[in-house]
């Protein structure tokens, strides 16, 4: 193998009551690589992320992290290894304040930081934690809204908060599921700029609907259709392939 893979799948499939959402996908992400996955709605992209991150086990196939089989590894352990994701529909905790959302990721278990910082009996609002949360928020420009109720944030700010959450978990590989969906053009610009700024420190897979947005961001693009990977390669070339054009625009 040329470079080592951080994340790899071998023939993974997922069936829901006989419906095949992901079908025999073999995928490989190199260390430090930024890759994109596109495909029409219902192609199985999110389900594929679910298989990578341990939301549920695949019906068939294996998932490898740095060469190690993690197919049966529960989600929280994968997070411990640095497999971090965001969700297509923004998923943050509305019932917490913006700062509180970040507490659990800055005092992660298995970091050894946990014990030191007193997970069970010391104040989650004390300065060391609060400062760490503040830093994470500053990265996405939300430091001014730390004390706000999360439910009062705009959808775009919630997306930024979710990305801050993901970054503070210190990803080895970050999986972003349609991070621009539901955002205004201005917000898309901000999030894009943010991803560009931080992506050097980890491997990245980004699912996106609009190819144009990520062409400059990723070095490789995969196209999913009806659960299968139908094309892969240099973004600008992939989108010229007849099969891809047919799937995407209904014409070759």
């Amino acid at each position: 193998m040329p470079e080592s893979a951080i994340l790899e799948t071998r023939g993974v499939s997922k069936k829901f009551d006989g419906f095949v959402a992901v079908s025999g996908v073999s995928y490989r992400l190199s260390e430090g690589e930024a890759a994109g996955i596109i495909g029409p709605n219902g192609a199985g992209k999110t389900t594929f992320f679910n298989l990578l991150t341990g939301m549920f086990p695949p019906t068939e196939g294996t998932v490898l992290f740095r060469g190690e089989d993690i197919t049966r590894c529960p989600a929280h352990e994968r997070v411990g290894r640095g497999v971090i994701r965001t969700f297509q529909l923004v998923s943050v905790f509305d019932q917490l304040s913006v700062r509180e959302n970040l507490v659990l990721s800055v005092v992660r278990p298995g970091d050894g930081r946990n014990r030191k910082r007193g997970f069970f009996f010391s104040d989650a609002a004390r300065p060391e934690i609060s400062d760490a949360c503040g830093e994470a928020l500053a990265l996405v420009g939300l430091e001014g809204k730390a004390s706000r109720a999360t439910s009062s944030l705009s959808y775009g700010d919630k997306r930024k908060l979710e990305i801050a959450l993901a970054l503070s978990l210190r990803p080895a590989v970050l999986l972003l599921d349609e991070p621009f969906a539901g955002l205004s053009d201005a917000e898309i610009g901000e999030v894009l700029e943010l991803v560009h700024r931080v992506k050097a420190s980890f491997s990245l897979v980004i699912i996106e609907h609009k190819i144009s947005r990520i062409v400059d961001l990723v070095s490789r693009l995969s196209v999913m259709h009806e659960g299968k990977l139908i094309a892969e390669g240099d973004p600008k070339k992939v989108i010229e392939e007849p099969l891809v054009r047919q799937v995407y625009w209904g014409r070759a």
């Binding site: 929280h76 998923s91 507490v103 910082r117 009996f121 104040d123 978990l169």
Partner: protein
């Protein structure tokens, strides 16, 4: 409203119960205090972790029977018996927790109820030889130094100390990262797992803590009353603590204490003025569930917040 009263909340609790003394018999007041410990234990499970249980009486009962049996067979030392009761109730939680905490919603509520019914059956019938069955049994504690369980004032002071201790520990626990984790489990457990937490373990832990604390309340009750009967583990009484948490406002420790006292006042005194008071309680509960979801505490803080024109985060 800039008085940092939360710093003195333990003192406020003490003061509050001392103020009740002129109006109530001391044993009754002690009963109120102990009930508040029970309500606190339930609030951790329901208010913070968001798991509604129909079986907390199991743990109250486990503590009540454990303290009595210990005092009869092993040692009459009240402190040893009390410690044993907490451990026993927590152990029950540790034993059945792995089955229970995997579930949510109605399944969680009903499995708890099922275990409560099993426990009730065990003390009432299966182990009646040891528990005294329907008649129950009395508990005898020895004096330890100046501490005498028979002394009503002593047990009042001791219970109040225990309530303040439980309150303080829970306050620390719920304002820690662990407390935040419980709240994330309540809101979206899957998301919490994707922050790297094995939520199963933490739910189990919270279940055990809640059970141990309920057992603590059960054991204190026996020290206050001097005897145990199956009513201490009766599944029909689960509704009391649920009402109390809803009245005060779930997910808030101050609310739990206000709710505990309010429920006790209502159930003890409304009954003497109004026939079929349970019906009014039922109507009250409907109002709470549909109109004042945040309970008394939430209504008060909400009102104050809107007066100040601020958005409160909680």
């Amino acid at each position: 409203m800039k008085i940092p009263w939360k710093k003195y909340d333990c003192l406020l609790i003490v003061a509050g119960f001392l103020l009740l003394l002129p109006f109530l018999k001391i044993q009754r007041t002690t009963d109120f205090i102990i009930f508040c410990v029970f309500v606190l234990s339930y609030d951790l499970l329901y208010g913070y972790m968001g798991r509604l249980s129909f079986g907390p009486m199991l743990f109250l009962g486990a503590g009540a029977y454990a303290v009595t049996l210990f005092s009869e067979h092993l040692s009459p030392n009240p402190f040893l018996a009390l410690s044993f009761a907490v451990v026993a109730a927590a152990a029950v939680g540790a034993l059945i927790g792995p089955i229970i905490v995997r579930t949510t919603g109605a399944a969680f509520a009903l499995i708890n109820l099922a275990f409560n019914q099993i426990g009730h059956f065990l003390v009432l019938i299966a182990f009646a030889k040891y528990t005294g069955g329907e008649d129950g049994m009395s508990a005898h504690f020895s004096k330890v130094g100046f501490f005498d369980v028979q002394d009503r004032t002593m047990i009042f002071v001791f219970s109040l100390f225990c309530l303040v201790l439980a309150f303080y520990l829970l306050k620390r626990l719920t304002s820690s990262p662990f407390g935040i984790l419980l709240r994330t489990i309540k809101e979206n457990e899957t998301r919490a797992r994707f922050l790297g937490y094995d939520t199963f373990l933490y739910k189990w832990g919270a279940f055990v803590i809640s059970g141990g604390l309920a057992g603590f309340a059960g054991a204190l009750s026996i020290m206050n009353y001097g005897y145990v009967t199956p009513s201490f583990i009766d599944p029909h009484r689960n509704v009391e603590v649920i009402f109390a948490v809803l009245i005060g406002g779930a997910g808030n420790l101050y609310g739990a204490i206000i709710g505990g006292v309010a429920y006790m006042v209502v159930s003890n005194y409304l009954a003497t003025y109004i026939a079929r008071w349970e019906m009014f309680l039922g109507i009250g509960l409907l109002l709470l569930v549909f109109r004042f979801r945040t309970g008394v505490w939430g209504a008060v803080t909400g009102l104050l917040a809107s007066r100040r024109g601020e958005a409160e985060t909680r």
